[in-house]
């Protein structure tokens, strides 16, 4: 099922950041989001993930199909790597965490408290969480931050494997992952800054 976005306008803190955005993300395809800092890439991903409502426009085919990975990985420092993953696996109803541990080479670390991991290892754990969600659309916000070159390769392989199984991915990143995905530059969709009139605009 295709994720389709029609004439979407999104806000951050009551101020429109992007408007008139339309695209379609078909199964098996990746879409790379580009754009300068502050243009609204994170806000777009949060809106599509359902964390905030759009100002206007339509999002179809997103409901309960999105695995969202933000800047922070949601890792509990006192739980071990395996326990962190097993928690998310049972929330999403996945049985095995072993493929995810293998994909990001976390097998040797699985018994360690996650608080002792390095920044890059934490990031790998955060990305492994995406694998255990078993959801078809990945929405990744700067997924390669603090990853070394071989870990970036692991991540690119994981995305390729996911696309090969008919999944799709929307990735906000500035590095070249070697994926044959389309690039969507959101710069031209920048909204003209104007405050929303209604009094509860700050909540939108």
């Amino acid at each position: 099922m295709t994720l389709s976005v029609t004439d979407l306008a999104i806000t951050r803190g009551g101020i429109p950041v992007l408007e008139g955005l339309s695209f379609a993300l078909e199964p098996g395809k990746a879409l790379i989001l580009r754009g300068p800092n502050g243009i609204g890439k994170t806000t777009l991903l949060r809106t599509l993930a359902g964390l905030q409502p759009p100002l206007s426009g339509q999002v179809n085919g997103a409901e309960d199909r999105i695995a969202y990975a933000a800047h922070s990985d949601g890792i509990k420092p006192t739980l071990t790597v395996a326990e962190n993953l097993a928690f998310w696996a049972s929330v999403f109803g996945t049985k095995s965490t072993q493929p995810a541990l293998d994909a990001f080479d976390l097998g040797d670390l699985s018994g360690r408290p996650a608080g002792q991991l390095s920044a890059g290892q934490k990031r790998r754990l955060g990305l492994a969480r995406i694998l255990v969600t078993a959801r078809p659309i990945w929405m990744l916000d700067e997924p390669t931050v603090s990853l070394d070159r071989s870990a970036v390769q692991m991540f690119a392989d994981a995305v390729r494997g996911h696309l090969g199984q008919g999944g799709s991915a929307l990735i906000a990143t500035h590095i070249d992952l070697g994926l044959d995905g389309e690039v969507l530059d959101v710069g031209p969709y920048k909204a003209r800054p104007k405050a929303i009139d209604d009094f509860d605009g700050a909540f939108l």
């Binding site: 905030q52 999105i66 990985d73 949601g74 890792i75 929330v91």
Partner: protein, 218 residues
């Protein structure tokens, strides 16, 4: 849902999880009361039900600011909100985990601390029962307060100011059950009111907490 409950319990019992802090606070407050009001046993036994209820309430309040704030800080609240688990269920489970790690130990410790305050013998059952019925409401109301203040840095004091007035009905009827029980009076009316308040908060507040959390996560 079970996974979330088990995770929260595990986190509470591990290092820095905060299990036992509320209990230790309750113990210290109760021990300090005879120092401040004097050791007359007649006075202490009169004020014991009220002091124990107030101590339990404050101990419960103490642990609220980490109820949702930790999950918000490390991003797991965002991830939970996009998971198949409804947010209403998540906040209910969080409240349950809070009650199991904070409320229940207070309920179990209260009769022991009653000895320190010369609580009359007939009052122990009612003290225990009133706290057992009343503390779940404190956890659920506290979760609502935590949801209201979740995005704020150092929101602990504001959380207390928001939550304490909401605790008033539970405190009035809970302490009334314990007081009447200790003096041998009929407890039926305040006990029913206390149970009613708890049942209503458990039924309604998780929806309010989830709605507030959705707004705060935007």
């Amino acid at each position: 849902m079970i996974a979330l409950l088990l995770r929260d319990l595990k986190l509470a019992f591990r290092a820095g999880g905060g299990f036992g802090l509320g209990l230790a606070f309750f113990l210290i407050v109760t021990v300090l009361v005879p120092f401040s009001v004097g050791p007359q046993s007649s006075l202490l036994s009169t004020i014991a039900p009220g002091v124990l209820w107030l101590g339990a309430l404050l101990a419960c309040l103490l642990s609220l600011d980490r109820l949702l704030a930790l999950d918000w800080e490390d991003g797991s609240l965002d991830l939970l909100a996009t998971s198949p688990l409804p947010l209403e269920a998540a906040v209910t489970i969080k409240a349950l985990a809070h009650w199991l790690t904070t409320g229940l130990p207070l309920v179990l410790a209260a009769p022991v601390l009653g000895v320190l305050l010369h609580l009359p013998a007939q009052g122990y059952v009612w003290l225990f029962l009133s706290l057992l019925i009343g503390t779940p409401a404190m956890s659920v109301i506290g979760t609502f307060g935590a949801a209201l203040t979740v995005g704020l840095k150092r929101g602990g004091l504001l959380l207390s100011l928001l939550v304490l007035p909401l605790y008033v009905p539970t405190l009035i009827f809970g302490a009334e059950v314990a007081r009447r029980g200790a003096t041998g009076m009929d407890v039926q009316t305040p006990l029913l009111m206390l149970a009613g308040i708890t049942a209503a908060t458990i039924a309604l507040l998780p929806f309010a907490s989830a709605a507030v959390l959705r707004i705060n996560l935007r």
